[in-house]
Symmetry: C2
């Protein structure tokens, strides 16, 4: 069999295995990042033109591109509809960016920790992943400068607003500092914002791409966290130098994004109905976050440290006594509780033990004591065994 060299880097996906195990109905899962089923809107299809069944443009539906550009301009991003590429979810932006930028051995910059599926696809294409340590309010700017002085990365990939997995939201100072450094060194920014609208304490920061004066950029978003991931509708907005290449790569990947999902997204983006839906969504998730924070205090205060996230879907716990949390998985699943180990979110898992990512949007508050109690017991048991 003749496989590409690339395939040797295809990892057995820990996430897939955990999510598969978490499918058992008796398992209480803090592992995934699924929107709450209760908050999925009812989709109305009346009035969709029959022509939505025909082939469409690789760029996406013109009206949707206009709506997405207007939404980005309202955030401060200076852009036109001609820079918007509609995608089959924002994950596809990572695939296209990898194709555009990464050869075997290409250096890129990532946060540590970063989005697991981004790390996986960049490594699949052969990237050499350099990490920037995080602080409470964003990346360590001194370390970022040091990396930029010593390396010529093809791009930096950041999730500045309610980061997955850490929950961090960059401060204004960090955003300004990152933008200035990228302009100074001429390094392309890929800014991934799936969680921007899931903001529970009024945070509404300006994207970093809006602050760039010279560097190239790709900004990417999705309706998966706010509307319905099953539509598979995301988008990227790119600086004009990158856009034509990304468009051709989109066309070669799958011709264009499904038009029925695009039409559905267009019924919401920019409307009063959508604004109302987002308000309800934020209220719903804020209550879950607060209940989760209270339950964590009850069960984990002696075991771990964390920040209460101001948005997004996750708590990021750092164990006071670090251990490789991947070794906890079997015991947790045996007790019918699932979580996401922190190690795979780092380019160097072995050097970063002792974190857990816990989703707070999925499990109803009244079940939290049971689930978090079970998980805490698993950790206590492992730490006792380690100490013995």
């Amino acid at each position: 069999m003749a496989f590409s060299e690339r395939v040797t880097r295809l990892k057995s996906s820990l996430i897939r295995e955990i999510l598969a195990a978490a499918q058992r109905p008796e398992v209480m899962s803090f592992a995934g990042g699924l929107p709450a089923e209760a908050m999925l809107p009812t989709l109305e299809w009346e009035g969709m033109p029959r022509t939505m069944g025909q082939y469409g443009m690789s760029e996406g539906e013109p009206a949707l591109r206009e709506a997405l550009a207007a939404q980005a301009r309202a955030l401060g991003v200076d852009c036109q509809a001609s820079q918007v590429l509609v995608l089959g979810g924002s994950q596809q932006a990572l695939d296209l960016a990898a194709k555009l930028h990464i050869d075997k051995g290409t250096e890129i910059l990532l946060e540590a920790p970063t989005y697991l599926a981004a790390l996986q696809i960049f490594q699949l294409f052969g990237a050499d992943c350099l990490s920037i340590p995080r602080e409470r309010d964003g990346p360590d700017l001194q370390q970022l400068r040091a990396r930029l002085e010593q390396h010529r990365p093809a791009f930096i990939y950041l999730i500045p607003t309610f980061q997955n997995p850490s929950g961090v939201c960059y401060s204004e100072a960090k955003r300004a500092g990152v933008a200035a450094l990228l302009d100074e060194f001429g390094v392309t920014l890929i800014e991934d914002e799936p969680y921007r609208e899931l903001s529970y304490d009024g945070v509404d920061a300006v994207p970093i791409v809006a602050r760039l004066e010279k560097a190239s950029w790709i900004y990417t978003g999705t309706v998966s966290k706010t509307l319905a991931p099953g539509l598979r509708v995301g988008y990227l907005i790119a600086s004009p130098d990158l856009f034509p290449h990304l468009l051709k790569l989109k066309q070669s990947a799958d011709l264009h994004t499904n038009r029925v999902g695009q039409w559905q997204a267009l019924q919401w983006i920019g409307t009063e109905k959508y604004r109302q839906h987002l308000l309800e969504l934020r209220d719903f998730y804020r209550i879950r976050r607060d209940a989760f924070a209270a339950a964590l205090e009850r069960h984990f205060s002696d075991l771990a440290e964390w920040q209460v996230p101001q948005g997004g879907l996750f708590f990021w716990l750092t164990l006071k006594q670090p251990l490789d949390t991947r070794t906890l998985l079997d015991a947790a699943l045996a007790r019918d509780v699932a979580f996401m180990p922190g190690e795979p979110f780092f380019a160097e898992p072995e050097r970063n033990p002792g974190n857990l990512r816990l989703n707070f949007s999925h499990i109803a508050p009244e079940r939290l004591d049971e689930g978090l109690g079970r998980l805490a017991a698993v950790i206590r048991h492992a730490q006792a065994a380690q100490a013995a």
Copy 2:
């Protein structure tokens, strides 16, 4: 700017440019491969569960995978639902296959001519494309054997049933011969069948993958030509050794295929309603093909040669006096008629001048004399200029 080496092979897409030019309402276009708008079914959405809005499985919806496996088994392909991967259109099968098999310089085998977008994505990944010449009923088996004796291609990519662009449908003897050679040399087959159901003269050949005994294989199909391309729902079925890798590549590309399109496809595949729709579709296209054949006789009998295709969407014309048909485009568009030059369908365009691909499904029969008359005049004029 730091681009990958791959991007240097991103071609300016002639197809995109032609199709863009053909958008002008006054242009009569024989260039595309769009289903006739009149035959797009009305999509009913009543009864779709709200959970179709949630994230789904990377493999695809279980019930749809079962239906697609049953459909393939009815064609003679021995397969299970566990081998079916639902895709965002069958174009995506080419992207995944390229990732699985192609490094820079990897040798692959293609028909000459072959599907343009396949050629482009395989070349984007750096493939060294070896061509097999076609005969009236499929590939030249002696040439295929010679290539297999002299090379170790990662795979062979074939469109055996109503090929795009040539319209050829492989005979039983060619199908058996290809399968025997691939088994003998252990070369993976990628069999692409978007046009299988568009069969106008009763042809119903068994896929080549059904005849393989040892070689690995990927079989790919779509609902784009029979139902609605705007849904972006296609699929691949793979031998069990390839499937797990393709699944991981699908997950890294876009997580999963949109579920609303999958649900819609499931309302049709395998039903009596779908069978009826296919009968109507075949009748509609058969009439258009026959009208086109008659109009070609009137306008092109002194200019070109062709076979009347038994299925699919295209006539493939070979000029009696070859010239580079790309040089005809501007003159044709100036006369408000569009066609697809044949050269880009070959890995070596310069060595294969003098073919045109003409779509017969889009233009109504009563307008054919006008459109084909204009196109013939453009060719006559160019040939006269060349002779002068």
